[in-house]
């Protein structure tokens, strides 16, 4: 079953604009991660934010986490055509003995040159 739900399902922006995508989840988490997937192939890890963190930066990426609302957002600043891809949030549940990541359905981002 899908835990995270990304919003919007699809996003089209001009190069240089910022892109924001959101993720909601249902259960308590240990951490939340964002991955990128190009053309239906392997996923690439972008950033991980732990449940006790509220904001994290990595290059042009900014991730926020609100555990009270069970939601996260990924901001890509100054987008480039190369950022065109599908973006997935994935949650790692809290508690011992659980190792699976649960992915959402993803946001398909198109950056127009």
């Amino acid at each position: 079953s899908q835990q995270g739900e990304e919003d919007p399902q699809a996003l089209s922006i001009q190069e240089g604009e910022n892109a924001t995508m959101n993720c909601s989840y249902k259960t308590s988490i240990n951490n939340l991660q964002w991955y990128r997937q190009n053309s239906g192939r392997g996923l690439v890890h972008l950033i991980l934010i732990r449940s006790n963190e509220r904001e994290k930066h990595s290059g042009r990426l900014r991730v926020t986490l609100d555990t009270s609302k069970k939601s996260s957002s990924l901001l890509i600043t100054a987008s480039r055509a190369a950022d065109t891809a599908s973006y997935f949030c994935a949650t790692a549940p809290s508690g011992a003995g659980s190792y699976q990541l649960t992915f959402g359905k993803g946001t398909k981002l198109s950056v127009i040159p």
């Binding site: 079953s1 899908q2 995270g4 240990n30 951490n31 991660q33 991955y35 239906g40 192939r41 392997g42 996923l43 690439v44 890890h45 991980l48 997935f88 994935a90 790692a92 003995g97 659980s98 190792y99 699976q100 990541l101 649960t102 992915f103 959402g104 359905k105 993803g106």
Partner: protein
């Protein structure tokens, strides 16, 4: 440093057949997870192998089985293939941590 490698890249089978997919983890990684990704969906967790044992399993039938070898490589076996098993199968490796490194996947088509 080789990343996660999967074979084959593409595979076509017919209903009722059996298939074996293979995965070599990133050098130094000891944990392998398998995911199924249907078209337009996010990856769904099948199972994870650690120290040659299935450590956790997702909501998949027993037709899906796996194995991990002493060199940490892994196989995913699917018996009695159904049309609905058509998907991209992704292998991911990790080292005692949360961050996953994915292979490029095996695209399985069941006719």
């Amino acid at each position: 440093d080789a990343g996660v490698t999967q074979s084959p890249t593409h595979l076509i089978k017919t209903r009722g057949q059996q298939v074996t997919l293979r995965c070599s983890p990133k050098s130094g990684h000891d944990t392998v997870s398998w995911y199924q990704q249907a078209l337009g969906q996010g990856p769904q967790f099948i199972f994870q192998y650690y120290e040659e044992e299935e450590r956790q399993r997702g909501n998949f039938p027993d037709r899906f089985s796996g194995h991990q070898f002493p060199n940490y490589s892994s196989e995913l076996n699917v018996n009695a293939l159904l049309l609905g098993d058509s998907a991209l199968y992704l292998c991911a490796s990790s080292l005692s941590g949360a961050k996953l490194f994915f292979g490029s996947g095996t695209q399985l088509s069941v006719l």
